[in-house]
């Protein structure tokens, strides 16, 4: 095996019947040196954050509504000020660009931007590919998956950690890594 091959990361997925076993797997993986970013939990039901001892999953969704609101506000301001300046009519002695008179449309523009960008943000955060290469339909049947990205040379460590935590099965891209006798139904 070349040095490049041993540095390449591969994904392993351990499947567990019980949440406690999945939490144990995360703890064992950490114990043998796998970092928080290498470990991912997959489940059909949302568990509380940190239930498995996993690291907080980072995302940037919160930035999208603010960015969208700022863009929407800017467009609304440009639209309004442009219209007022293009056709300057003094109404009731008020300034040509009077904020109270345009605040509703500024609000609409801001909200439109915020909603659109939030929807786009959700799509962005669900982007393809998502880094999860190994999956198993048994997760949809209630098993809990613990996915770990490991360098080639560390695959045995990861596999042992996953198996010792009571995995029902351990999968790689090429299929099950567990011996048929060891894999419980």
């Amino acid at each position: 095996m070349s040095a490049r091959d041993s540095d390449r990361k591969r994904e392993l997925l351990g499947l567990y019947n019980e949440p406690d076993d999945a939490a144990d797997a995360v703890s064992r993986l950490r114990g043998v040196g796998f970092g928080g970013n290498d470990i991912e939990i997959i489940s059909a039901t949302p568990y509380p954050e940190g239930a498995f001892g996993e690291q907080h999953a980072k995302h940037r969704l919160f930035a999208f509504p603010f960015a969208g609101a700022a863009c929407g506000l800017a467009v609304a301001i440009a639209w309004h000020i442009g219209a007022q300046i293009a056709l300057p009519i003094v109404t009731g002695g008020k300034p040509i660009v009077a904020v109270p008179a345009i605040i509703q449309v500024l609000y609409e523009g801001t909200m439109l931007g915020a909603v659109l960008f939030t929807v786009l943000g959700v799509l962005f955060e669900s982007r393809l590919p998502d880094g999860i290469g190994v999956y198993d339909d048994r997760i949809a049947d209630g098993l809990i998956g613990v996915s770990v990205m490991a360098r080639e040379r560390r695959i045995p460590d990861a596999q042992i950690a996953l198996e010792e935590a009571g995995a029902v099965d351990v999968l790689s891209k090429d299929g099950s890594l567990m011996r048929p006798a060891a894999a419980s139904p």
């Binding site: 639209w79 909603v115 959700v122 209630g142």
Partner: protein, 452 residues
């Protein structure tokens, strides 16, 4: 103690409880009837289009449109409230109410001719009252429709995102989808990050929906109401409209839950007195709010005695539309107040449903007295009514139009029930994870876990 339905507490994570779509027999008399009513609604809408620009002709359509806004469009907010307050009673109802986002899309089509019939802000050098300071950049048609579109977009996104984990199916199915469809299903696998993004987005979008709902109510009630009836000036009216809309939404949800419990066992098995007790409290509180907002509004006019304001109140409250007003007062306040103060009525779904029907009837007549009066007002450019107008009665087409709109809402809702699994499976499973009935001394108590 009011207990959740036992089946809701006994849901398992493995094998996971998976909701199904509701199978509807298309040949049943009720479904055929709803379909015919929906077709009637489409026909009446087309027939009414021949009256394009005639504002009074659109008076009753405006009333029923605002009735839809006040009940159907407000319903998804109950899911938001229940999630924000960690109200587990709402678990079986959340998907049921979110699905109302789809029929509320009708608003957009209904508002096109209604807004198109509004007079310009300025005519012969005279300006009528409006929120837009006479702005000529497309107000009120474009601005109102834009606001409605943003609200509907938020409602649709909320409904879809909440349903994705139940709709997507196993990862192999999602992976086999074409890229665009996979993205539409948020590339769903169920990773921790996906769950967090899903929850965060639902919180944001729900909040935006609420913000837009209140805004849409403010501009529509002003553009179709206060700005058309001379002398009608009220700062509290949009708030009154929002509060009565929440009341209408709760009533609609109670009726829907009752019907689902009775005719759709797959959903109905989770619905019971726990939902009735919580929704009943809301309904009672909102009933009291009705009086507070109405009285606050009315008292100022009564005390100030400005002739133009008095004439407006005489029009839509005391003289011209007194019959619809009385029906509204009895339906939205007196009957629900007198009945809902009693626990045996408020906590039983069937009895609460009967009260809810009365509330919705009251709401419809409330919208009629408010918006038929304004839409049929002869001269919105004057500063006050010289004499009180005669009531504007509906003709056969108006009545059929209103019935048809109700039919369209019901038909779309039934259709979406056959497409999106109900109730929300992942939230039901999560709820089962956090709730247990336990013995405490000699009593059975409900132990709740609230993770965040």
């Amino acid at each position: 103690m009011i207990k959740p339905e036992a089946v809701g507490l006994s849901l398992t994570l493995r094998p996971p409880y998976r909701p199904s779509t509701i199978a509807i027999n298309r040949k049943s008399a009720v479904v055929v009837g709803v379909g015919l009513l929906a077709a009637l609604g489409v026909v009446m809408y087309v027939v009414k289009l021949f009256s394009w620009g005639d504002r009074a002709e659109w008076a009753y359509p405006a009333a029923i449109t605002l009735f839809v806004l006040s009940s159907v469009s407000a319903a998804p907010l109950v899911a938001f409230a229940s999630r924000m307050a960690r109200g587990y009673w709402g678990l079986p109802a959340r998907r049921v109410v979110e699905l109302f986002a789809l029929p509320s899309m009708l608003l957009f089509a209904l508002l096109i001719p209604i807004l198109g019939s509004l007079p310009p802000f300025e005519q012969d050098g005279v300006t009528r009252a409006n929120l837009w300071f006479g702005w000529g950049g497309g107000a009120p048609f474009l601005t109102d429709q834009l606001a409605v579109s943003v609200m509907l977009l938020a409602g649709g996104a909320l409904m879809w995102f909440a349903a994705v984990p139940d709709l997507a199916g196993p990862p192999s199915r999602v992976r086999a989808m074409p890229a665009w469809k996979r993205l539409l299903f948020l590339n769903w696998t169920g990773t921790k990050r996906q769950w967090i993004v899903l929850r965060t987005s639902m919180r944001w979008i729900s909040a935006f929906y609420l913000m837009m709902y209140v805004f849409v109510t403010m501009i529509l009630t002003t553009d179709l109401g206060q700005s058309l009836l001379p002398g009608w000036r009220s700062g509290i009216f949009p708030a009154y409209h929002v509060i009565t809309s929440f009341q209408g939404a709760i009533a609609l949800i109670v009726i829907t839950l009752f019907l689902l419990r009775r005719y759709a066992p797959s959903v109905g098995q989770f619905i019971g007195d726990e939902q009735a007790a919580s929704l009943g409290k809301f309904l009672l509180a909102l009933t009291l709010f009705w009086f507070y907002f109405f009285w606050s509004d009315f008292l100022l006019v009564w005390y100030a005695r400005l002739p133009s304001e008095v004439a407006a109140v005489q029009t839509n409250v005391a003289v011209t539309y007194i019959v619809p007003f009385l029906i509204a007062m009895f339906g939205q306040f007196l009957i629900p107040f007198v009945t809902l103060i009693f626990n045996p009525i408020r906590r039983k779904l069937a009895r609460l449903t009967a009260v809810s029907v009365v509330v919705l009837i009251g709401l419809l007549f409330d919208r009629i007295r408010l918006f038929v009066a304004s839409m049929s007002s002869e001269n919105p450019f004057s500063h006050g009514l010289a004499e009180l107008p005669e009531p504007y009665y509906p003709n056969a087409i108006d009545i059929l139009f209103m019935i048809g709109v109700v039919g369209m809402v019901a038909a779309i809702y039934l259709w979406v029930l056959t497409r999106i699994p109900t109730p929300g499976g992942w939230e039901m499973r999560e709820g089962a994870m956090y709730r247990r009935e336990q013995k405490y001394m000699h009593a059975e108590v409900l132990v709740l876990g609230k993770p965040d």
